[in-house]
């Protein structure tokens, strides 16, 4: 550490640091137009003028190792001095900047593919550690299947569309009814009578033109489930028949596609991520469906409108985590929410080694739901 409160390193030393187990937080302090032209892999963008405000989010721990760079090394040195003044103790500035990095023949300078409109629309994502331009690009490239455009699918679809998930395939066989509007906020009064998937598509396109919507007016069956899952990264299960749920599960297990599962009843909801190979599948939890009187739908039992709203948004949250590869997805964990108590309960769920769908002697092909 010099008297300036930071150390200068050249490009090769910087690369070694970035490859080491104590990889520093890499911060690009250049302006937006410079960042857009290309940046170093894994960098967080915080222009020099804003760094004293942005740093608390990027590095809450003032002793965390931080490596700053700019174009040539002048602004990053100034930014390092600013951070030293704020009490940061483990600071390095890359002498020569990204120019020196490129001249040293070092690789992985990335360019963001986002348009100016997208940079504005997703600006709050771009600020987030773990998302940023790289994460946003992943979302724009992602494909999610929503099974059901009802209580769970409606809020999930809206938030996934808002987040810029580039391709949403939605299947549902219902038409919008007035009784849906108490909770299925993707539909509107004037679209009562319209197929739900078409109504959902109208709303999604109005919300975010980046999203390609593929509305499929029909039911998920064992015959079409494989084609519905084709190319899909994550599934949102908003089904309300056990036949569809088992058909979806068995096909998703075979194709290795994670399903964000949820259920709701009156004032309570539950949620888990069924990730093939990483945790249980639906048949591990429920090898056989309950008799109809044990699992009445909302049309029989009633449901507080916000309940599927909240659970559907939690499903969208889990889907985004899976797509971005961040956080701890609810794999092997079943989250229960009691809205009236205001309490969350977490249960541990495990794979069943004898599971007909994902167990060692899986026979899902012949399994009857």
């Amino acid at each position: 550490m010099t008297t300036k409160g930071f150390t200068e390193v050249d490009a090769n030393a910087a690369q070694q640091l970035l490859a080491s187990p104590e990889r520093p937080i890499l911060i690009d302090v250049r302006e937006q137009n410079e960042w857009d032209a290309g940046y170093l892999h894994g960098a967080t963008h915080a222009p020099k003028g804003t760094i004293s405000f942005a740093i608390a989010n990027i590095a809450p721990d003032k002793s965390a190792p931080i490596l700053l760079y700019c174009a040539g090394g002048v602004r990053s040195a100034a930014a390092a001095e600013t951070l030293a003044g704020l009490g940061y103790t483990n600071l390095r500035s890359m002498a020569g900047g990204i120019k020196g990095w490129s001249e040293a023949g070092l690789p992985v300078v990335e360019t963001t593919t986002l348009t100016p409109e997208q940079k504005s629309r997703y600006s709050r994502h771009l600020l987030l550690p773990g998302v940023g331009a790289e994460g946003q690009a992943k979302l724009l490239d992602a494909r999610v299947l929503l099974v059901g455009a009802g209580g769970l699918g409606a809020p999930a679809a809206l938030y996934l569309a808002a987040a810029g998930v580039g391709h949403l395939r939605i299947i549902d066989f219902d038409v919008v009814e007035a009784s849906n509007l108490q909770r299925q906020v993707i539909h509107t009064t004037e679209r009562v009578g319209m197929p739900k998937v078409e109504s959902a598509a109208v709303q999604i396109r109005a919300l975010n033109p980046d999203v390609q919507v593929e509305p499929i007016n029909g039911a998920l069956t064992v015959d079409n489930v494989a084609s519905l899952l084709d190319g899909v990264d994550v599934v949102i299960d908003g089904t309300d028949t056990f036949e569809a749920r088992y058909a979806l599960n068995d096909a998703a297990v075979k194709l290795g596609i994670p399903v964000v599962h949820a259920g709701v009843f009156r004032f309570e909801g539950q949620l888990t991520v069924l990730a093939p190979g990483r945790g249980p599948c639906y048949r591990c939890l429920h090898p056989t469906p309950p008799p109809p009187e044990m699992a009445p739908g909302c049309g029989v039992a009633g449901v507080l409108g916000v309940l599927p709203g909240a659970i559907g948004v939690l499903q969208a949250t889990e889907a985004l985590k899976l797509l971005l590869g961040i956080g701890e997805p609810l794999i092997g964990r079943l989250l229960l929410w009691d809205a009236l108590e205001g309490s969350f309960t977490e249960l541990t769920v495990q794979r069943d080694p004898h599971c007909a769908a994902c167990g060692s002697a899986a026979t899902a092909k012949g399994v009857q739901s």
């Binding site: 849906n180 309300d240 949820a262 009843f265 909801g269 309950p290 008799p291 739908g297 108590e341």
Partner: protein, 93 residues
């Protein structure tokens, strides 16, 4: 030894509408037996005729699936929570 048994919403009508009932028993089997003695309508919902748990009813003891513990022999020390949780319908309609 008092154990809290959390009743799922779909079965609450059989226990007078309450969410949690207190039962005694050293094992899960004893706790659930006491439960269906106190609330006879639940027997058919929870147990097969041979006394095994119905397969669509999952029971968690202290947050873990009893089938992956010792089933009905799983010990239930005082103060522990038992959660009964059948499969839940979705939210499409």
């Amino acid at each position: 030894m008092s154990v809290s048994v959390r009743i799922p919403p779909v079965l609450r009508a059989h226990v007078g509408g309450v969410k949690v009932v207190q039962m005694s028993g050293a094992t899960l089997g004893e706790v659930l037996s006491a439960l269906v003695v106190a609330h006879a309508d639940l027997r058919e919902q929870i147990f097969e005729s041979d006394g095994a748990l119905r397969r669509w009813v999952n029971v968690y003891v202290d947050g873990a699936d009893a089938r992956h513990l010792a089933g009905l022999e799983t010990p239930t020390p005082a103060g522990i929570e038992v959660v009964i949780l059948p499969a839940m319908a979705g939210g499409s309609r």
